[in-house]
Structure formats: C-alpha cells, structure tokens
C-alpha cells in the first residue's frame, strides 16, 4: 500500500529546492523532500481518546507506530467530506515518526529560489504560524509548510 519514497537527489542545483507538494482543502502546500520519510495511501487509523484534537490517531507503518496529525484540523480548516480518502506524508521529528494527513499528495517539484517570497503580512494567523513562505508557481501559489512548528503542540491556533 505504501509508495516508497523517491530516490533522494543530493545533486540538487544550489538555487533550487526540492519539495513534496500536497493539497489541503484546495490549497497547494510543500514540504522539503529531505524531511519526508514515506508517503502513504489511505490507512486505517486508530483513534486515541483524550488526545489533543489535532491528533487523528496512530497508524502502523511496517511495525512502527506513527502518530497521525490531521493537517486540516491543525490549519483550522473544515473537516473533509465524509468518506474521502486521505493520504499521509510521514515526517520525522526527534526520532519519532509523524504522519501528516493531507487530502492529496501531488508531485515532487524542484523550485527555483527566485520564485520564493516571505509570507504576506496579511496572511491569516493560523496559516502564518505554520508557513515559512510562498512560492509563486504558474497558475497557483504554494505554501511552504514548517514541519517543526506543525509538530510543536505548544503552538496552538
């Protein structure tokens, strides 16, 4: 069920960064590819009672227990339509694995630095909190997510 992560390309051109792009509630986002451990299709997730609301539960990744975090909930977005299949991007933080639940994982993109911009000052707080900046793509904008902050549960919207 799992799609193995694509080969890591260390020969990245200096001016370009490689991102895994994904979509949450219609918004295109990116996560640096080097921080991504795995990409999973829809998985059975065990609910964890009494856990913080952004925690969707835990799932089994080849024998490791991974805590799943609902990115929609984390970004204060409405829950997905019932029955919609969601994918996960597995990231590592402090030796622990976390799965970020997203609507769809798109492609891996190499983006030129010149397309990068800081967050516009007017960006809503719950996005600004977890966004490191914006890439101007053709026809859409990509929000660069800050994984460390997403996993820092002392930061709450």
């Amino acid at each position: 069920m799992t799609v193995e992560m694509l080969e890591r390309n260390d020969q990245t051109v200096r001016d370009e960064q490689v991102y895994v792009t994904l979509s949450v509630a219609g918004q295109l986002c990116g996560i640096p590819v080097l921080g991504v451990r795995d990409i999973l299709a829809e998985q059975p997730i065990t609910r964890i009672p009494l856990a913080p609301p952004d925690i969707a539960g835990s799932l089994n990744l080849r024998g490791r227990i991974v805590t799943a975090i609902d990115l929609r909930s984390r970004l204060t977005l409405p829950p997905p339509a019932h029955g919609e299949k969601r994918m996960s991007v597995v990231v590592e933080q402090g030796g622990e694995l976390y799965a970020l639940l997203v609507d769809q994982v798109a492609e891996v993109m190499s983006l030129d630095k010149t397309l990068f911009e800081r967050n516009p000052p007017t960006l809503e707080r719950h996005w600004a909190l977890f966004s490191n900046g914006i890439y101007r793509l053709d026809g859409s904008l990509l929000v660069l997510l800050d994984v460390a902050r997403l996993l820092d549960f002392t930061l709450q919207n």
Binding site: P49, A51, E96
Partner: protein
C-alpha cells in the same frame, strides 16, 4: 565469591587496561596534565577501594604507586621512562595479585617491600639503581609491554629467574595460567571467564528486533488462519517455533538472578542488627530465580526498604523476644519463585506483626475512614492502610510498632512495573509481604476489550476476573441471580459476592461517546490496583494476546490512562490501558492517598539529575515547581479555617498555629478549600498557599532563565512547560521566623539529612547504605558541580560528606565554594579521603572542612557525622 569483590575485580581490570594505554601516552607526552590526573585518579580509586575491602597488600602497592604519581602530578617529578617503568611494574604487581584474588577470592601472600622501596625511592626523586624485581611477574604479562619500555622486559628477564623460589610466592606461580587470562583479549578476571560483557544497548536493540519479529509472526499467523491448506502453513509453523525460541533466548540474555538485587542485604542486615542491638538472621531462598534486568533494577530499592523495615520495625529486641517466648534471634526470610509468568517475592519476618489498634487510631486521626467503616472492615483490609501515602508520620515512626515508613513508595514503585503487593500479618507471629511482578516488561499478556467500537488492551496481570452483567435501564429491576449494573445517582456499581464493586465505564472515561444501549450486555473487567478493586465496563471482551509494549509518542505522554501502545496480530494499532492510571483518574484508592505526601521516603534515591518535583499553580495560570522532598505535606484546608493573627493569616494545624504565606498576588476565594504546601522542620511548620496542586513529576531541574522576581529562582522546562522554580529559602523567611537558625538549634541527630559528594559510583554504593542504616537520610551527588546545583535549587542538608579527589572541581575547591556563602555556608563538612597524612588534613581544614576521615574507616564517617551534628546543635 563476594559480590562486592567480583564487582571490584571487573571494574579494576577494566581500569587497568585503560591505565596501560594512558601510561604509554604519558611516556610520550610527559607534561600532559589530563592524562596524569586520569592515571592518578584510577590508581587512587583502586587504592581506596582496596582499603575498603580489606586488601592490605594490594593497597600498599597501589599506595606506593600513587605516591609517585602524586609527585608527577604536582610537577615534583617528570615522567621519565624510568619512572613510567616503575609505575608499570607496580601495575603489573597489582594485576598479578588481582588474578590470584579472582581465582581464590583471597589476596595471595607475598613480599612487595622491594618494589615499594624502589617506588618510594622514585617518589623521593632518587634515580632507581636498578629496576624493581618482580617476583610475581611472569613472561606472558610482559609480552604486552615488550615494545615501548624495553626496561621492563629486560628487568623481568633478569629478575625473577635469578630469584630463589620463595615459598611465599608459590601460590602466585600456580596461578600463572590464570593471570595470563587477565591480559587476554577478554581482559577478564578468571571468575567471569565464561561470560562476555555486552553493552545493554545491544541487548535492548536485540529485544526490539525480536519484538518486531514476534509481531510480524503474529500477523502472518493471522493471515494463514484465513487460508486453509495453504502451502505456507508448514514453514510458517516452523518460523513460529523458531521465533518463540529466539524470543525466549533473547529474553534469557536480559535475565539476571534476583540475588543481584539481594547481594547488599546481608550487609545491611548486619549493620542494622548491630545498630539496633537486635539479633537478626537473614535467609534468602530462590536467589537464582531469574527476572528481566529492567525489572530487577526497579525492585532493588523497594526490596531494600522492606528488609530494613522488617529489621527495624518488625523484629523485636532480644529481651522482648525472650519475654514473648520466642528465640532471641529474629528471622527475616526472602523467598523468590516463579509462578505462571510472574515472579513472586515474599519478605517475611517472625516479629511482632502489625499493631492493628495503632493503625486503626491512625486511620481515624487522618480521617481515612470512620469508626463504623473500620468496624466493618476485615483485619487484612485495615492492615493494607499502611500502603497509603503518608500513613505514618515522622512523629510516630518510632512510637508506632508497626511499619509504615515509605510503604506507599514501595507500592507505587511496584505498581509502576505492573506488579502488585499484599501483606499478611498476625500479631505476635510476624508479617509477610508478597510481591508479584511480571517477568519482563517488554512483552506482556494482555486482554483485548472493546468499548464504543474501539479496541484496547488491558495488561493481564491487573485483571482479576471477568463478569458479565446486564446494563440495567431506567426502571428495570434486577432479578436475583443475575448480575446487573446498578446506579447510585449516576455512579455505576455492581454487587459482586456481597460487596459493592465500584465501576467505571470505559467509553465514558475516555470520552468515546455513547454506543451502549440498555439492552446490550456489558462485560466488567475486574481489575486490582494495589489493594483496591475497580470494575471497568466494556462492550466486548476478545482474546488475550501477547503484546509488545511500546511507549506512546511524546505528545501523548500526558494521558495517564495509557501505559503504552502496540500493534496487534491483525496489524492494527491499539492503546494499552493503565489500570493504575484509570484508578487514579476515577479516584479509586487514590482519593485519600493524595492528601498526604511523604517526601522523606525519597531518601537515598534523590538524584540531582532527575528529581521528584511538585508542580502547582499560582495566580490562576502560572506554573511553579518545588523539589518534592522539601515539602513535608500537602493539605487542602477549608477556607473558613484560615484565621488572622495580627494581620497574618494562620491556621490551626495539628493543634498548633501555623503561619500561612500566600504565593498568589490576586486573591481567589472562588474555591471552598485552600491548597497548602506545608514545610515542616522539627516543631515548626508553615504553609504556602497556592491555587492548585497539579502533579508530581520526575524531571530534571535546569534553570534556564534566572529570575529577577523575589521568591523565584528562575524558569526551567519541567514536564514540557516553562515553570518557575520556587525559591524556598525566600518564602520560609516570609513566615516571620528565622527558619535556618531554628533548624540548627535542633538536637536530634538521627534522621539528619546528609549529602554525599563522591565521584566513584562504587564508593557511593558502599557508603550510602551504611549511612542510611546508621539513621541518616542520604542524598548523593556525583561531583561538586552537581552538589552546588542542589544548593542553588534550594535543597537543604544537615551535613555534607565530600570526597577530595574528584574530576573537575575537587573536594577542597568545593569546600571553599560552600564556605563562601549561601545557605550551606555553616553546615558541617566532612572530608573523605585516602590521604590522611597531617598536611592533607591541614589542607582540608584550611579549605573549610570540619573533619577529615579516612575512606577506609566506614564507621568513623557515621561517628564523625554524629559528633559534628551534636556540636552544631549544642552551639
């Protein structure tokens, strides 16, 4: 062989191997101060330990070697090849003696005067006329040194051969093959030849891998069950068996005989019997019973505590025993055995038994139960009250003949590893404690249950029984002979064999929502947490399964209902319920427990790294922490009990007026009760009023932001949150009394708190039990810096015992630092050193030490402490 001796041999052999390398480094770079002090410390430790263990010959050689090294370190000599050769010769002699020691358990007879003389000559700066002869050396030993210092090889070839075979050296010669093994690749003493040392990490990794394998096997088996007559069935069966064998094998590597946890007890009992004037015989049965090393580590302290209690409170004096018609010598029996996946440890004595009437009194005074309730309670249930926290207060530990000191901590520690403890006591005949603990913590058997369509695992060890019951809907009457859940208001209970069993609904508890209907039958999992029973209502009960406990992610650790999580055979993740956490959350057996916290029971285990910290809230939302062992008691008093005396809030507490100081600047009279942290010292007590007591956590206290605000030492991250650390000294003086001078006027010496600063873990382990047995409350610090951190954290002691030779800040600088100022400036300080020459003693006194005691005189330390403390009290 004596366990201490075996430890010593292993440790010393390791440091000797390091020493060889270090000495050769020294020869190349004679001015390297680091290497020099490293070598000096190692030889020094060997010497000190020898003295302690009563190995005079080894001590003399090490001492002579140390003298030379001391001169080198002080710069009086330089590390010429000759001198290094001398020291190597001394080390070789030490090795030879050690190898014989390892084989026979005794120091071999032999004459080292020549070697010592030549070392002394070297120390006094004379050129050695000839290199020392080494009768105890034999060729294999030198082979190692043959390369850089040629002198050694030469010296040896000339020396021993030309020597007359002295009968005194015969035993050594006989040990030749063994001493060879000392320097063999294993570097081990003969006593442990059949074993290899593997780091615990390797074993832990293996265990993790095996756990994964077990899970995968379970998954495969589950799949195979669905497809009958598949070609996989046979090989899978085989894989399954091999996995089980492998699991067992790896578990075995982690197994250690329980005797390892007992080896210090005979000494403890001996000291105890001498100090108390009682005759005690300790019998240990089943010492070879093996259990997981992790579990072993965790039960060591509780066991020690219980044996000490048995000797101290359980057994009578010889006179009392005679009067009772018992043999003068009291018996303490430790018995360990396997029982169905568990280890059972019994600790029994033939002493006076628990004094039931005193316990009753205590229960009534503490308001733990009413007289009527007590009358209805079976004897054993009354006795179990001794497991309640703070059941015995300092004042009546000596007065009450029963036990009670720290039994709550013993119980908590045992429950922490999934174990249970119970007791049986017959007045006049003795008391027996029974501890039941799981063999291992890594793989446990668990019952899988379901509530509101979610599955959970409950560790089998805490499950007593399963009961099917009908959920009684409104107005439905239960028919006789049928179990039905009844409700008192909204609280569910079950009549179980003429007793009311408190129940808790798992789906309510975990906020899973209502999936239960009155019609559906419910299952009740009766769990035992300590002495309390609690029924957990679930919807369904599945099978039991062997599960591998994995810790939950850090962001979920605050949920106390879960002890971990695991992956089931079908690949799904499942949370493991912690019955102790559930009981705490529901207040079963814990409601009364939280009233009193008895910090003294942390004695001897206080670590500067991690300590028990009490978290509380002030000013509505500010988190503050204070080391738990500073707090005598936690109280909740009704607000109307707060009175005012000359404008100062006071309350009547245990028949006295206790001043109160508010930590909160904004007044919150919203709650009917006021939480207090009570600080007590002798007859004095004061209460700090706080908003709410949050928790007790074990954590590091590293102050990261210093505070400008009086009353706070600064901010530390505790339990994952920024937390202000209470400046206890500041608040105590706010109570309007000179707290610290009141303390020093106290004359009671026993129970005084002593801080031991000693870098050698080996020595600490020797010293702490003996001081604790002498009645002191001992805390330890591994170095001077750590000790000073304790001071800055506001911990207070009555005396300090410090080693002189320590890496980093040495004992002399430490003493000077203490004397410079701060709350410890006037404490008696006792220096502990193997150097007791007059100029050393003088240097110690100059640095500020009150007394100077030789490391080898264990009794002298306790005596000196007593003397210093009495002098302080008299001053």
């Amino acid at each position: 062989m004596d366990e201490l001796l075996a430890d010593f041999l292993t440790e010393t052999n390791e440091s000797l191997a390091e020493l060889d390398v270090a000495l050769l480094t020294l020869e190349r770079t004679p001015d390297d101060a680091n290497t020099l002090s490293l070598i000096f410390r190692m030889v020094h430790t060997i010497k000190g330990t020898c003295g302690f263990l009563g190995l005079p010959r080894l001590e003399r050689v090490a001492h002579a070697g140390e003298n030379v090294l001391g001169k080198l370190r002080d710069g009086a000599l330089s590390a010429s090849p000759d001198i290094v050769t001398q020291i190597l010769a001394a080390l070789d002699r030490i090795k030879a003696i050690l190898s014989s020691l390892g084989a026979t358990g005794d120091e071999p007879a032999g004459d080292d005067t020549e070697l010592i003389a030549s070392l002394n000559a070297a120390a006094s700066g004379q050129e050695p006329s000839n290199t020392p002869t080494a009768p105890a050396l034999e060729p294999p030993v030198h082979a190692e040194f043959a390369e850089p210092p040629d002198h050694v090889a030469e010296a040896v070839q000339e020396a021993p051969v030309s020597h007359e075979p002295d009968p005194a050296h015969e035993p050594m010669a006989a040990e030749d093959p063994d001493s060879h093994s000392v320097h063999g690749p294993g570097g081990q003493a003969p006593a442990v030849q059949q074993t290899i040392r593997v780091t615990v990490d390797v074993l832990e990794d293996l265990m993790t891998l095996v756990s994964e394998l077990v899970l995968t096997r379970n998954q495969l088996l589950q799949l195979a069950r669905a497809q009958e007559n598949s070609g996989f069935t046979a090989p899978l069966q085989r894989l399954s068996h091999i996995t089980s064998d492998l699991q067992e094998g790896v578990m075995k590597t982690r197994m250690q005989p329980i005797g390892m946890a007992w080896n210090k007890l005979p000494r403890l009992v001996r000291d105890l019997s001498r100090d108390l004037g009682k005759k005690i015989e300790l019998t240990m049965l089943g010492a070879e019973t093996e259990l997981d090393r992790q579990v072993l580590e965790l039960i060591k302290d509780p066991l020690t505590h219980m044996v000490r209690n048995s000797g101290d409170h359980g057994l009578e004096t010889p006179a009392e025993r005679r009067a009772a018609g018992k043999p003068e010598t009291g018996q303490i029996v430790l018995n360990a055995f396997h029982e169905g996946g568990h280890i059972v440890i019994e600790i029994s004595d033939d002493g006076r038994g628990l004094a039931a009437h005193r316990i009753r009194q205590k229960i009534l005074t503490n308001g733990l139960a009413t007289e009527a309730e007590l009358a209805a309670m079976p004897e054993v249930q009354i006795q179990r009250f001794i497991f309640r926290a703070g059941f015995s207060t300092a004042a009546n530990v000596t007065a009450v003949s029963g036990r009670g000191v720290g039994m709550d901590v013993v119980k908590t520690n045992i429950e922490k590893i999934g174990g249970t403890i119970d007791l049986k006591s017959i007045a006049g005949q003795g008391t027996a404690f029974t501890i039941k603990i799981p063999l291992t913590l890594a793989i446990v058997s668990a019952l899988i249950v379901e509530a509101a369509s979610e599955r959970f695992a409950i560790p089998q060890i805490s499950v007593v029984e399963l009961v099917r019951a009908r959920r009684a809907g409104d107005g439905t009457r239960s028919t006789p002979g049928e179990n039905a859940i009844e409700r008192i208001n909204d609280t569910p209970v079950l009549r179980l064999r003429d007793r009311l069993l408190p129940l808790v609904s798992l789906s309510d508890l975990l906020g899973l929502g209502k999936a239960e209907t009155p019609e559906s039958g419910a299952h009740i999992v009766v769990t035992q947490v300590g002495a309390s029973l609690l029924g957990i209502i679930v919807d369904r009960v599945f099978d039991t399964e062997e599960i591998v406990v994995k810790p939950v992610a850090p962001i979920l650790r605050h949920i106390t209902m879960f002890s971990g999580n695991t992956i089931l055979g079908d690949g799904s993740v499942i949370m493991i319920l912690d019955p102790a956490g559930i009981a705490r959350a529901t207040g079963v057996g814990a409601a009364a427990d939280n009233k009193l916290v008895k910090p003294e029971t942390i004695e001897g285990t206080a670590s500067a790294d991690r300590m028990a910290l009490l978290l509380f809230r002030v000013n509505g939302s500010e988190r503050m922490a204070v080391p738990l062992n500073l707090v005598a008691r936690l109280e909740d008093i009704p607000r109307e009990k707060i009175e005012f005396s000359s404008g100062i809030p006071v309350t009547q507490y245990r028949g006295r007026l206790m001043p109160l100081v508010s930590l909160t600047t904004q007044d919150s009279n919203s709650t009917p009760t006021q939480s207090l942290l009570v600080f007590a010292d002798g007859d004095h007590a004061m209460g700090l009023m706080v908003d709410e007591i949050i928790d007790v956590v074990e954590d590091r206290m590293e102050i990261e932001l210093a505070s400008a605000r009086p009353g706070s030492l600064g901010t530390a991250v505790i339990g994952g949150f920024a937390t202000d650390v209470l400046d206890t000294g500041y608040w105590l003086t706010q109570a309007g009394r000179d707290w610290f001078s009141a303390r020093s006027a106290r004359s009671s010496v026993p129970g005084s708190r002593v801080l031991v600063v000693e870098d050698s873990a080996f020595f600490r382990n020797l010293l702490v039990p003996s001081l604790a047995a002498a009645g002191f409350k001992v805390s330890t610090a591994a170095n001077a810096e750590e000790a000073l951190r304790l001071r800055d954290a506001g911990l207070m002691f009555d005396a300090i015992v410090s080693d002189i030779e320590m890496p980093g800040m040495d004992g002399l600088s430490f003493a000077r630092a203490v004397r410079e100022g701060g709350p410890w400036a006037n404490l008696p300080m006792i220096a502990l050193s193997s150097h007791t020459e007059p100029h050393h003693v003088e240097a110690g006194r100059d640095a500020g030490f009150t007394d100077y005691v030789a490391k080898t005189q264990r009794g002298a330390i306790a005596n000196s402490l007593r003397q210093c403390l009495t002098e302080m009290a008299g001053a």
